[in-house]
């Protein structure tokens, strides 16, 4: 026989994972990412293959054909070749090209194909330099003047090298963490208000204590949220392993992120869920509860709003403070780990503060839940909270 807390947890877990909304959030990454995975190869192929056969009609007499560029005597021939699929595009070089630099590109429509600007520029530079006195090294620089590498310095003046795509990872992590915590604690809030609205809460309380009921709900909805985040992480890793993004992850402490994601999610969820329970228990309707929960939603998205500051200076005072503030710690810490080497003491202190906050909030929420769950027909008022706590 299951303990009553687990009966509630099982009921809430199954009720949540069977909802259309939950199933949709589970499969949404697949719906979005799988087509991208399968079509990205095709897109890349089109993008790289299409410019390989380009025609040109030269009215200056300075251009020579090569492996990619084919000469046509007039526009009519080039057009026919384009329409017959013999070439992907062609350019015409007017007689005043040397003076104006103007060329005309002809191509058929196509969703994925892009103008082969780079190839055309390289082709023209090669031909322009062919008969010049410029040495090979200089001509190479003219062909490719910049090979830029971005270097970022931290507060200590140490060099941190990052690829541009790496900035997407903290952003994705923050969104993922905030989304899963808020969705899961939102389920809890909905569950509490729904049982008040459909009047089942009094029957439940005749079978188990308010503390058992709240604990069961926290476990049930939390498990559903954990399932959600695990599916997202696994599907994300699958996509990464099948694409060229895998290399980027080798440079990030991915194992550390995964190890820390679970406690930060669990503690973050308990903190927000406990807070949501505080506003849901006295609320009579979902609208009242959502209004009360607004402040917690704002706190949850604060790290995303300050994303620019955190990315620009992950060791700044703002980023550090957000790491210690319990409501912003989960998203901020995971973002910072991808950007900088956070000292162990900061992570430990952050987790400690979060754990203490969770303990306090859960105790408060259990008390408010116990005293306010049978209240009905009243708006949530901050001044009533001490009354709920005293009873």
């Amino acid at each position: 026989m299951l303990p009553k807390t687990l009966v509630v947890a099982k009921h809430e877990f199954l009720a949540t994972v069977k909802t259309k909304g939950f199933i949709l959030t589970l499969i949404l990454p697949f719906i979005i990412l799988l087509p991208v995975m399968f079509t990205s190869g095709y897109v890349m192929q089109i993008a790289t293959d299409s410019p390989r056969n380009i025609g040109f009609v030269d009215e200056t007499g300075i251009l020579q054909p090569d492996g990619i560029f084919t000469r046509f005597e007039d526009i009519g021939d080039a057009e026919n070749a384009l329409l017959n699929g013999e070439i992907n595009s062609f350019i015409t070089i007017p007689p005043d090209y040397l003076k104006t630099g103007r060329v005309f590109l002809y191509r058929t429509g196509g969703f994925f194909g892009s103008a082969p600007t780079g190839l055309i520029e390289a082709f023209l530079i090669d031909n322009l330099l062919r008969d010049s006195d410029v040495d090979e090294t200089l001509s190479d620089r003219i062909r490719c003047p910049v090979d830029m590498e971005q270097i970022t310095l931290n507060e200590k003046g140490e060099v941190e090298e990052k690829q541009a795509v790496q900035f997407l990872i903290p952003y994705a992590l923050a969104i993922l963490m905030v989304l899963s915590i808020m969705t899961t604690s939102g389920y809890l809030m909905q569950g509490i208000v729904a049982e008040k609205e459909n009047k089942t809460v009094e029957i439940l309380l005749s079978s188990l204590s308010p503390d058992e009921l709240l604990t069961g709900k926290l476990m049930g909805f939390g498990s559903a949220g954990l399932l959600q985040i695990c599916v997202w992480i696994c599907s994300g890793m699958l996509v990464v392993s099948l694409t060229s993004l895998a290399g980027i992850f080798q440079e990030i402490q991915i194992s550390l992120i995964l190890i820390l994601a679970i406690p930060y999610f669990t503690l973050g969820y308990l903190l927000f869920a406990g807070s949501m329970a505080c506003v849901a228990a006295p609320a009579s309707t979902m609208k009242d509860a959502q209004q009360g929960a607004m402040v917690f939603t704002m706190l949850a998205i604060l790290p995303i709003m300050l994303l620019g500051v955190i990315i620009a200076a992950p060791d700044s005072t703002v980023a550090r403070v957000l790491t210690y503030v319990p409501y912003t710690a989960p998203a901020t810490t995971l973002m910072r780990i991808t950007l900088t080497g956070i000292p162990v003491y900061e992570i430990t202190a952050s987790l400690l503060i979060l754990t203490i906050s969770v303990t306090v909030v859960i105790r408060l929420s259990a008390r408010i839940f116990r005293n306010a769950i049978l209240m009905s027909g009243k708006k949530i008022r901050i001044r009533d909270i001490p009354v709920y706590l005293k009873r």
Binding site: V7, N198, E202, I203, S206, S207, L374, R391
Partner: protein, 324 residues
Amino acid sequence: MPENTNNKRMFTIWQTAAAVIAGVQREKTDEPVLDVAHLTKSFGTKTILDDLSFHIESGEIFGLLGPNGAGKTTIIRIILDILKSDHGSVKMFGKVFDEAFKERIGYLPEERGLYQKITVFECLKYFANLKSVKKPDDRIDFWLEKVGLIDYKKRRVSDLSKGMQQKIQLASAFIHDPDILILDEPFSGLDPVNTKIVKDIMLDLKHDGKTIILSTHQMDQAERMCDRILMINHGKKVLYGTLDQIKADYRESPVMVVEYEGDLKPIDGVTGMEDYGRYAELGLEMGTDPQEVLKNLMESVKLRRFEMKSPSLNKIFIEVANVA
């Protein structure tokens, strides 16, 4: 004999045996089933219950009566440990109430509610699991059969009519074979057919030795069914005892029932008048001569019928509530 009839018979035998075994296992004691002493509860400055004491004997139907807002639901919630009292104690079978006792109580709250998006079976199974029922499926079938809704077992609760949902809720209160049943306005919203079904179930349970606490303001039902009553008003005890005792206390204030034509006017010696246009119940002051009242009545209306009787519980209730 058809197989399902056999199954039903076997199930009834099994249920009877289980009830006997459970009865033997549960402690036999002379203590009242429920002993409530000096219960006091306030919300803010408003006193809801004021030093209330009563006890409930095993196997009786105990009426918890009072007007709306009298404090009936608060008493029930304190008994169930949903609310904490400011002072006083609740003992069940002679012991201080704890969480384990909840499994021996079945509760039908006044505000009915079920999970709408799941099936009747899933809903009842959840409630049965919360009451630690060992073979919930058998109990669910038994009670659905009893309330005539076995064919709706796999239907979503939201597909059922309000009356059907009320019977499902009733089944959920009985599903774990409780010793004590607390029914808060069980007949509210039921049509006469379903009222009879619920009343018959309650009487069956009483015959099985269950104790029933019936909270209601429908005095006629309470008068017909209850062995003893507690009437409260503004959180205070105003009547308490067997119906015979209470009626005996009010025997000196008889009621004259009359059927008439005309306009009924105030009459000397009549304390309370329930006038329905063609029918009236007149409460007589202590020591009033009914002959005098009749004589006065005949001066203003044409009498069709008259009868002297003890005051009904409804009449006593109104009188007591007005005095309080």
